[in-house]
Symmetry: C2
Subunit: 90 residues, 2 copies
Protein backbone atom coordinates (compact mmCIF):
# COMPACT_ATOMS: atom_id res chain seq x y z
CA UNK A 1 0.00 0.00 0.00
CA UNK A 2 1.36 3.44 -0.89
CA UNK A 3 1.67 5.87 2.03
CA UNK A 4 -0.97 8.58 2.22
CA UNK A 5 0.50 11.65 0.48
CA UNK A 6 -1.61 14.14 2.39
CA UNK A 7 0.10 13.20 5.66
CA UNK A 8 3.60 14.50 5.22
CA UNK A 9 6.44 12.64 6.84
CA UNK A 10 7.79 15.27 9.22
CA UNK A 11 11.00 14.94 11.24
CA UNK A 12 12.93 17.23 13.54
CA UNK A 13 16.66 17.31 12.98
CA UNK A 14 18.96 18.98 15.51
CA UNK A 15 22.08 20.85 14.41
CA UNK A 16 24.57 21.68 17.18
CA UNK A 17 27.08 24.37 16.20
CA UNK A 18 30.15 24.96 18.37
CA UNK A 19 33.34 26.97 17.92
CA UNK A 20 36.23 24.77 16.81
CA UNK A 21 38.73 23.69 19.46
CA UNK A 22 41.39 26.37 19.70
CA UNK A 23 39.11 29.24 18.70
CA UNK A 24 38.74 31.56 21.70
CA UNK A 25 35.25 31.96 23.12
CA UNK A 26 35.14 35.24 25.12
CA UNK A 27 31.41 34.84 25.78
CA UNK A 28 31.95 31.39 27.28
CA UNK A 29 34.87 32.72 29.33
CA UNK A 30 32.69 35.52 30.72
CA UNK A 31 29.99 32.99 31.65
CA UNK A 32 32.55 30.74 33.38
CA UNK A 33 33.73 33.75 35.41
CA UNK A 34 30.14 34.59 36.37
CA UNK A 35 29.52 30.96 37.41
CA UNK A 36 32.50 31.06 39.77
CA UNK A 37 31.43 34.42 41.22
CA UNK A 38 27.97 32.95 41.86
CA UNK A 39 29.51 30.19 43.95
CA UNK A 40 29.91 27.44 41.34
CA UNK A 41 33.63 27.00 41.92
CA UNK A 42 33.66 23.60 40.22
CA UNK A 43 33.16 25.21 36.80
CA UNK A 44 36.45 25.01 34.89
CA UNK A 45 35.29 26.35 31.53
CA UNK A 46 32.20 27.10 29.48
CA UNK A 47 31.90 27.04 25.68
CA UNK A 48 28.81 28.60 24.17
CA UNK A 49 27.35 27.43 20.91
CA UNK A 50 24.08 27.33 19.01
CA UNK A 51 21.42 24.68 18.71
CA UNK A 52 18.97 24.60 15.81
CA UNK A 53 15.86 22.43 15.70
CA UNK A 54 14.98 22.09 12.01
CA UNK A 55 11.61 20.59 11.13
CA UNK A 56 11.62 19.03 7.67
CA UNK A 57 8.91 17.48 5.54
CA UNK A 58 9.25 14.52 3.19
CA UNK A 59 11.84 12.99 5.49
CA UNK A 60 11.03 9.44 4.42
CA UNK A 61 14.67 8.67 3.75
CA UNK A 62 16.28 9.61 7.07
CA UNK A 63 19.83 9.36 5.69
CA UNK A 64 19.04 11.62 2.74
CA UNK A 65 17.25 14.16 4.95
CA UNK A 66 20.28 14.28 7.26
CA UNK A 67 22.63 14.75 4.29
CA UNK A 68 20.53 17.68 3.03
CA UNK A 69 20.56 19.29 6.48
CA UNK A 70 24.33 18.79 6.72
CA UNK A 71 24.67 20.70 3.42
CA UNK A 72 22.37 23.43 4.75
CA UNK A 73 24.30 23.65 8.04
CA UNK A 74 27.59 24.17 6.23
CA UNK A 75 26.05 26.84 4.02
CA UNK A 76 23.81 28.79 6.41
CA UNK A 77 23.85 27.68 10.05
CA UNK A 78 27.58 27.39 10.75
CA UNK A 79 30.66 29.29 9.68
CA UNK A 80 32.99 26.46 8.60
CA UNK A 81 36.07 28.65 9.12
CA UNK A 82 35.65 28.83 12.89
CA UNK A 83 32.74 26.52 13.73
CA UNK A 84 31.98 22.82 13.53
CA UNK A 85 28.58 21.19 13.64
CA UNK A 86 26.97 17.89 14.56
CA UNK A 87 23.62 16.59 13.34
CA UNK A 88 21.25 14.19 15.06
CA UNK A 89 17.55 13.39 15.27
CA UNK A 90 15.57 15.13 18.02
CA UNK B 1 42.67 2.04 46.88
CA UNK B 2 41.78 5.72 47.18
CA UNK B 3 41.73 7.66 43.90
CA UNK B 4 44.66 9.98 43.32
CA UNK B 5 43.58 13.46 44.47
CA UNK B 6 45.95 15.31 42.18
CA UNK B 7 44.06 14.07 39.12
CA UNK B 8 40.76 15.87 39.28
CA UNK B 9 37.67 14.10 38.09
CA UNK B 10 36.61 16.31 35.18
CA UNK B 11 33.36 15.96 33.26
CA UNK B 12 31.71 17.92 30.49
CA UNK B 13 28.02 18.57 30.97
CA UNK B 14 25.91 19.93 28.11
CA UNK B 15 23.06 22.36 28.73
CA UNK B 16 20.66 22.88 25.83
CA UNK B 17 18.51 26.00 26.16
CA UNK B 18 15.50 26.49 23.87
CA UNK B 19 12.59 28.92 23.84
CA UNK B 20 9.46 27.39 25.36
CA UNK B 21 6.82 26.08 22.96
CA UNK B 22 4.49 28.94 22.11
CA UNK B 23 7.13 31.66 22.49
CA UNK B 24 7.75 33.21 19.07
CA UNK B 25 11.25 32.87 17.65
CA UNK B 26 11.72 35.59 14.99
CA UNK B 27 15.37 34.61 14.47
CA UNK B 28 14.38 31.00 13.75
CA UNK B 29 11.62 32.20 11.42
CA UNK B 30 14.12 34.35 9.49
CA UNK B 31 16.48 31.37 9.17
CA UNK B 32 13.64 29.12 7.94
CA UNK B 33 12.82 31.75 5.29
CA UNK B 34 16.45 31.91 4.21
CA UNK B 35 16.61 28.10 4.00
CA UNK B 36 13.64 28.04 1.62
CA UNK B 37 15.10 30.85 -0.50
CA UNK B 38 18.35 28.87 -0.75
CA UNK B 39 16.43 25.92 -2.22
CA UNK B 40 15.73 23.88 0.91
CA UNK B 41 11.99 23.79 0.39
CA UNK B 42 11.56 20.87 2.78
CA UNK B 43 12.30 23.10 5.79
CA UNK B 44 9.03 23.73 7.65
CA UNK B 45 10.39 25.62 10.65
CA UNK B 46 13.59 26.40 12.53
CA UNK B 47 13.92 27.13 16.25
CA UNK B 48 17.20 28.59 17.43
CA UNK B 49 18.55 27.98 20.91
CA UNK B 50 21.81 27.88 22.81
CA UNK B 51 24.13 25.07 23.72
CA UNK B 52 26.60 25.31 26.60
CA UNK B 53 29.41 22.85 27.22
CA UNK B 54 30.29 23.20 30.90
CA UNK B 55 33.46 21.52 32.13
CA UNK B 56 33.30 20.78 35.85
CA UNK B 57 35.85 19.42 38.29
CA UNK B 58 35.20 17.08 41.22
CA UNK B 59 32.40 15.43 39.27
CA UNK B 60 32.77 12.12 41.09
CA UNK B 61 29.08 11.99 41.88
CA UNK B 62 27.52 12.38 38.42
CA UNK B 63 24.00 12.87 39.79
CA UNK B 64 25.10 15.59 42.18
CA UNK B 65 27.15 17.36 39.48
CA UNK B 66 24.12 17.35 37.16
CA UNK B 67 21.90 18.73 39.95
CA UNK B 68 24.36 21.59 40.56
CA UNK B 69 24.48 22.40 36.84
CA UNK B 70 20.66 22.34 36.66
CA UNK B 71 20.62 24.93 39.47
CA UNK B 72 23.21 27.01 37.60
CA UNK B 73 21.29 26.73 34.32
CA UNK B 74 18.10 28.03 35.93
CA UNK B 75 20.01 30.89 37.52
CA UNK B 76 22.43 32.00 34.82
CA UNK B 77 22.21 30.14 31.49
CA UNK B 78 18.46 30.17 30.83
CA UNK B 79 15.65 32.63 31.42
CA UNK B 80 13.01 30.40 33.05
CA UNK B 81 10.22 32.79 32.04
CA UNK B 82 10.60 32.09 28.32
CA UNK B 83 13.19 29.33 28.03
CA UNK B 84 13.50 25.70 29.03
CA UNK B 85 16.66 23.66 29.32
CA UNK B 86 17.83 20.07 29.17
CA UNK B 87 21.03 18.66 30.68
CA UNK B 88 23.07 15.67 29.55
CA UNK B 89 26.62 14.39 29.57
CA UNK B 90 28.76 15.24 26.54
Amino acid sequence: MRPCRTLRNVATIVVDVMLKTGIRDPQGEAIAGACRRLGYGEVISVRQGKRFEVEVSDAEDAMQAAARIAELAGELLANPVIEEFAIHRA
